[in-house]
């Protein structure tokens, strides 16, 4: 087993809490998650990217710990939990500004629809592969953490640059 996937051993090997989000189960899995991560990056202004990256870096281990609650003996890898956090972060951030409110609300609406569909239908319609299935709980935790962590994007927003 890869020393970078998320398993219970992450409690003794904490790097797994970060690295598991970068590992995928295959090219399709990787491309879909990369596409999902590209959406908030394309919607927010480039000047917000560093703060968003920092926020995701902070949220990643918290999300990893939350996923451990649902993992049992299995292993976890994938960026979609983090992508959900990014969607929630960007959605709340965009919805706060008048000029981008519509985009933020649509993004949050799409995220809510996805989570609702997963609650209703389970993980059956999500991509999976030989030996792995999607873990919808990771998406719910990611979205919740994204909303909770959204002030991280607002920090320093109104600060004027030094002369």
């Amino acid at each position: 087993m890869s020393p970078f996937v998320l398993t219970r051993e992450a409690l003794l090997q904490p790097w797994r809490l970060w690295t598991c989000h970068a590992l995928q189960f295959g090219w399709t899995h990787a491309l879909l998650n990369l596409g999902a991560l590209a959406v908030p990056a394309a919607l927010v202004r480039p000047r917000v990217w560093p703060r968003m990256a920092l926020a995701l870096l902070v949220l990643a281990p918290v999300l990893g710990l939350a996923i451990l609650l649902h993992l049992g003996d299995a292993e976890y890898r994938g960026a979609s939990g983090l992508a959900c956090a990014a969607w929630a972060l960007a959605g709340v951030h965009l919805a706060r500004a008048r000029e981008s409110r519509m985009e933020g609300l649509v993004l949050l609406g799409l995220l809510s629809a996805k989570l609702l569909a997963e609650i209703v239908a389970g993980a059956t319609f999500l991509p999976g592969g030989p030996g792995w299935v999607s873990l919808p709980a990771a998406h719910r935790w990611g979205a919740a953490l994204g909303v909770v962590g959204s002030p991280l994007l607002a920090a320093g927003e109104g600060r004027k640059p030094k002369a």
């Binding site: 087993m1 959406v39 996923i67 049992g72 299995a74 939990g81 792995w132 299935v133 873990l135």
Partner: protein, 288 residues
């Protein structure tokens, strides 16, 4: 008194010299227990595996035992019982806290019959209430080579004080894990060690015994580490469907073959919708 005392003394001296010179030559001692001889005695063919395959329900009750020495001689154990138990306890301690282990039973070799085969393995697994058994086989060779000054042993005093023997103990321990009810081979892992040392002629046997015990302990330590890695590889193989004859049921009751990995995954629809939104936003900003 012999009629020719000088001739008698010369003969005794020559015999002593020959015996001493014989001690100066290189010697090899080997300890070996063969897994194949135990499981497939008399070149018997491997039994047909159960077509239903092996299903392991976590957490597992596991038995560990040394393969008995072949040949049907008494005692069946290759190692003293205390050494055997100490080594198996090392393995037991290494896996005691693994979440997939419920209990590890150390099975004395005396409970296994030499050349007993799978029938004997079935008996032992039922006796101990374990379905998975790790059979540990040992291959240890000890070489003793005289150093250049070992001729000083001929002085008698030299045999007590000069470390004129170079000892080399090479140990290979192999653990093969089987699911006894279905006679399915699950995985294997090796552990090896090399212990080098020297000794005087007088304490050679004692030193070889010490080196043997040290070599076994070091090899068992490496075996435990390798076994841990092999277990992880085995789980990954089951999860990916490479091991079609084996499935693992997790403590949550789900099949590892079906759900070995959990992934965070976006569906194509969400990604397309999100990208469409991003494209629309970018287009709107450019227009404004």
């Amino acid at each position: 008194m012999p009629r020719h005392p000088s001739l008698f003394l010369a003969a005794v001296a020559a015999a002593a010299l020959l015996a001493a010179l014989a001690c100066l030559g290189p010697t090899t001692v080997s300890h070996r227990s063969g897994l194949m001889e135990y499981l497939y005695p008399k070149n018997r063919l491997a039994p047909q595996p159960n077509p239903a395959g092996a299903t392991l329900t976590l957490p597992l009750r596991i038995g560990v035992a040394f393969v008995p020495a072949s040949g049907g001689t008494y005692p069946a154990s290759l190692l003293p019982a205390t050494v055997e138990k100490h080594l198996l306890d090392l393995l037991k301690d290494a896996f005691r806290n693994k979440p997939w282990v419920k209990d590890i039973q150390v099975i004395p070799t005396t409970y296994l019959s030499p050349r007993g085969g799978f029938d004997n393995l079935d008996q032992v697994s039922r006796l101990y209430g374990v379905s998975v058994i790790a059979l540990v086989s040992v291959d240890q060779i000890q070489y003793t080579n005289p150093k250049w000054y070992s001729f000083a042993y001929l002085s008698i005093v030299g045999a007590y004080v000069l470390p004129g023997d170079r000892n080399d103990t090479r140990t290979l321990i192999d653990a093969a894990v089987f699911h006894a009810p279905t006679r399915t081979f699950l995985l294997r892992a090796p552990g090896q060690s090399i212990v080098k040392g020297s000794s005087t002629a007088v304490n050679l046997q004692e030193r070889l015994r010490e080196d043997s015990a040290k070599g076994l302990e070091l090899a068992m330590g490496e075996l435990a580490r390798n076994l841990d890695a092999e277990v992880d590889a085995f789980k990954a193989q089951v999860a990916s469907g490479e091991r079609k004859e084996v499935d693992v049921i997790t403590s949550q009751g789900s099949s590892l073959r079906a759900t070995g990995g959990r992934g965070g995954a976006f569906g194509g629809f969400e990604v397309m919708a999100g990208l469409a939104l991003a494209a629309a936003a970018v287009w709107r900003r450019r227009r404004a």
